[in-house]
């Protein structure tokens, strides 16, 4: 049981990283971004490709991979989000679904469907907590997560950060006061791409193997649940929510599936969390407003 909690905490870090990206996009554009997982998958595939075929050093491959993720975010902003700015948010959501699908299918075509492996960024002996071995890679993930959190919190207090919030609330008024809405939009989606890419890149070596769409299939719904629990407009909430979802899912998986034999226990637990939060406290733990 304690192991389940520990495992859950570290798994939750990935969810938190994805959730932060989701919340950032929501704060910036009031949109649920279903393609967030694909930013990660793309980064992983590019990095793996650079490592395996071009034999670049790890850090360089990672940088290239992350750049591709950022590029995808900005391309998506330019081609999809900006033309659809005035439409209903559901339309935008479906558009992000379309982008996610397009990326998954493209990776399926370009690469092989079979799972691949990505090396860890840092090597070393695992630390043992309560009979669970924690790889250095996982500590790296936690560390990057913390760094991201602090940087984002600081950023949002700056003028640029306020510009981001202003644009999400009223794009027209923001433009009137001189905020460049396209620039803000680009920053938001580029950052979302970066965050998604980091999530994928740091997580893939831990889970061992990756395949097209893996991050979306395994991580997107828990990440959304985490964002909702924490509050869709609260970055701090995304962290808290991510860890919470990770722990509860892990414990639930252990209890339901392994002990009670209910199939798909982890998905069931996450779904239950989502429903309960939305019914009881829709604005989440730390959120201030309920999304319409």
């Amino acid at each position: 049981m304690f192991q389940a909690i520990v495992l859950g905490l570290f798994q939750g870090a990935t969810y938190a990283m994805l959730a932060v990206g989701l919340v950032l996009v929501y704060k910036g554009a009031k949109v649920f971004n279903f393609a967030q997982g694909e930013f990660g998958t793309l980064a992983v595939y590019v990095t793996w490709c650079m490592l395996g075929y071009q034999h670049l050093p790890y850090w360089l491959a990672a940088v290239i991979g992350l750049s591709c993720a950022v590029a995808l975010g900005m391309v998506m902003e330019r081609l999809i989000v900006r033309p659809l700015m005035g439409r209903s948010r559901i339309t935008l959501l479906v558009a992000t679904v379309g982008v996610a699908l397009a990326v998954i299918q493209t990776t399926l075509i370009v690469a092989e469907p079979k799972p691949q492996n990505l090396d860890v960024a840092v090597n070393g002996n695992p630390t043992v907590i309560g009979q669970v071995g924690i790889l250095p890679q996982q500590w790296l993930l936690i560390g990057v997560l913390a760094a991201v959190g602090i940087l984002l919190a600081l950023f949002l207090r700056t003028d640029y950060g306020h510009a981001v919030t202003a644009t999400s609330q009223d794009a027209f008024a923001s433009r009137v006061v001189g905020i460049s809405v396209p620039a803000v939009s680009r920053i938001i989606w580029g950052s979302a791409g970066l965050l998604g890419g980091l999530a994928g890149l740091l997580q893939a070596p831990i889970t061992g193997s990756f395949y097209p769409g893996y991050l979306t299939i395994t991580g997107l719904i828990p990440a959304f649940t985490a964002a909702v629990i924490g509050g869709m407009d609260s970055l701090a909430g995304a962290f808290v929510g991510g860890l919470a979802v990770g722990v509860v899912q892990s414990v639930g998986q252990y209890q339901l599936q392994l002990k009670a034999g209910i199939p798909g226990g982890s998905g069931l637990v996450v779904f239950a969390m989502l429903i309960i939060v939305l019914m009881v406290r829709p604005r989440g733990l730390l959120g201030k407003e309920v999304a319409a």
Partner: protein, 516 residues
């Protein structure tokens, strides 16, 4: 002038409408019949393998319709639709395994589909918009992982057997069964959209409060929409199970089922029956267009199997539909639908411009589906497009309103006057300053109106006609005929004693429930 109108009970309301000529009617009937004939004789003419594809296309058509009811009419995005179809499939298999017969299986499947959708509908009452989308997504995945893996119900990972009934064992007969089911569901959808339920659902989607003040039970109709959609999905699921003869949980995957189904409904055009059915059939059969022969080698990427293209094309079509071609296929085929329903073929210039492109596309796709070389398909398409273009051009030249030209000043003025006279028919319009006319009467002679009901409406028309001839600036005292009592004196209506108030009918629009 008013007294002459003793007679007419019937006040004819004229409305400028396009009416089909009898030859036009014949043409449309022949076209519709030919279309129906083609669709329904396909199973007869093709091999058993193609019959299976036809069944699948029909099943997808029903799925598309069910997504259309929930997402297109009720506006609730359903990213977990595989749950409804899947539960129908497994229920149907379950019932047949327990020897209750095929009919019972289909009924049970549709019922449980409706029930499950209803459950989600109850959730939708509390949770709205984007969050609901998330809930449906999570629900669908959860259903696939948990419910469909429940060993006692679905056989767990091993899957569940769903044999076909004896009467429909052959592929051909099953294809007909599916086509008939599709036709029935199209009819149900048609009646839904043309009846009070369909209008209520759309009104509730548009603005709940307004819908409530129109007498619509908003909660009831939201749930109704989910139930109908779920019913259709369950039915499709049952047919799907028996089509495959074996159901597995991973038939209802997020990426192979739920998301493509949403895509095909969106690409088909939400709210457009024909578009959704055609797009769904297309999505079902699309992968068969590509020959399963050797894959292509693309530089730098490696080998690309033809089978891998359709899902990507689907996602790209979705993005195109959302951004550029809004209204999806339904919007593109609007001229044909309108024509078949007895209206004009073209009403806007943009429609005319789009037709050659459509012919090119269809002309390319049909031979391509039969695995003819793509160069030939392109040639056929181009030929058709050129012919269509010439035909459309000839047609447009006969219709001046479709041609682009600059209106003359005289035409603009005439249009302005026409608008002024037509809108607010009985009440003089005040759009723009009224032109002064030579013969202006400062006041309007009060028409003497008898108190009987029948002439009420006509008198209104006459009085209004008289009013239109005067200048609005000298507005007369009362334009609406006042009530007269037996002495012929005018009496200003007032909130006086109820028993003395004379009752007047507004033409034939009577109070329905005998109120005094």
């Amino acid at each position: 002038m008013a007294v002459a109108a003793q007679a007419p009970e019937v006040h004819v309301i004229g409305r400028p409408r396009f009416v089909v000529t009898s030859s036009g009617l014949v043409g449309r009937a022949v076209a519709a019949l030919a279309l129906a004939l083609v669709v329904f004789t396909i199973p007869l003419l093709t091999t058993s393998v193609w019959d299976n594809i036809v069944s699948l296309a029909a099943i997808y058509g029903i799925i598309g319709l069910s997504v259309n009811v929930i997402t297109g009419y009720a506006g609730q995005i359903s990213l977990g639709h595989q749950a409804f179809v899947g539960i129908g499939a497994f229920m149907s298999a379950f019932v047949v395994q327990h020897k209750f017969g095929f009919v019972a299986a289909v009924v049970a499947a549709s019922a449980i589909g409706a029930v499950m959708a209803l459950a989600l509908g109850l959730v939708a009452l509390r949770i709205r918009g984007l969050y609901m989308a998330l809930v449906t997504l999570a629900f669908g995945v959860m259903a696939q992982d948990t419910i469909f893996n429940w060993r006692s119900f679905t056989g767990g990972g091993a899957g569940s057997e769903a044999p076909r009934p004896a009467q429909f064992a052959s592929n051909e007969s099953f294809a007909y069964l599916c086509l008939i089911a599709l036709a029935l569901m199209v009819m149900v959808d048609w009646r839904l959209s043309k009846s009070k339920a369909g209008r209520a659902i759309v009104a509730v989607r548009s603005n709940e409060r307004v819908a409530a003040t129109l007498g619509i039970n908003t909660t009831g109709y939201k749930l109704f929409a989910f139930a109908v959609g779920g019913f259709m999905a369950g039915l499709a699921g049952s047919l799907f199970a028996h089509h495959e003869k074996f159901v597995y949980a991973n038939n209802f995957d997020l990426f192979t089922a739920a998301l493509p189904w949403v895509i095909m409904a969106v690409v088909g055009g939400l709210g457009s029956r024909a578009g959704v059915v055609i797009a769904s059939s297309f999505f079902a059969t699309f992968s068969y267009f590509f020959p399963s022969a050797k894959p292509w080698t693309v530089p730098f990427i490696g080998s690309v199997g033809a089978q891998q293209l359709p899902p990507l094309i689907g996602a790209v079509l979705l993005l195109f539909t959302i951004t550029v071609y809004q209204g999806g296929l339904g919007q593109q085929i609007l001229p044909y639908r309108r024509w078949l329903a007895g209206g004009r073929f073209l009403e806007h210039r943009e429609e005319a411009l789009g037709i050659p492109g459509q012919v090119l596309l269809v002309g390319f796709m049909v031979p391509f589906a039969f695995h003819l070389p793509w160069q030939f398909c392109l040639f056929v398409g181009a030929l058709g497009a050129v012919a269509a273009g010439a035909g459309i051009r000839a047609h447009v030249l006969t219709r001046p309103e479709l041609q682009r030209r600059r209106a003359t000043v005289a035409e603009l003025e005439a249009e302005q006057e026409e608008v002024e006279h037509e809108t607010l028919g009985h009440l003089p319009s005040s759009i723009g300053p009224r032109p002064r006319r030579a013969s202006d009467e400062p006041t309007l002679p009060m028409p003497a109106v008898p108190a009987d009901a029948a002439s009420g409406a006509v008198a209104t028309a006459d009085a209004a006609q008289a009013v239109e001839d005067s200048d609005a600036e000298h507005a007369p005292t009362t334009r609406i005929p006042a009530v007269t009592d037996d002495q012929g004196e005018t009496e200003v209506p007032s909130a006086g004693d109820p028993s003395e108030r004379p009752r007047r009918e507004l033409g034939a629009f009577r109070r329905k429930r005998g109120r005094t």
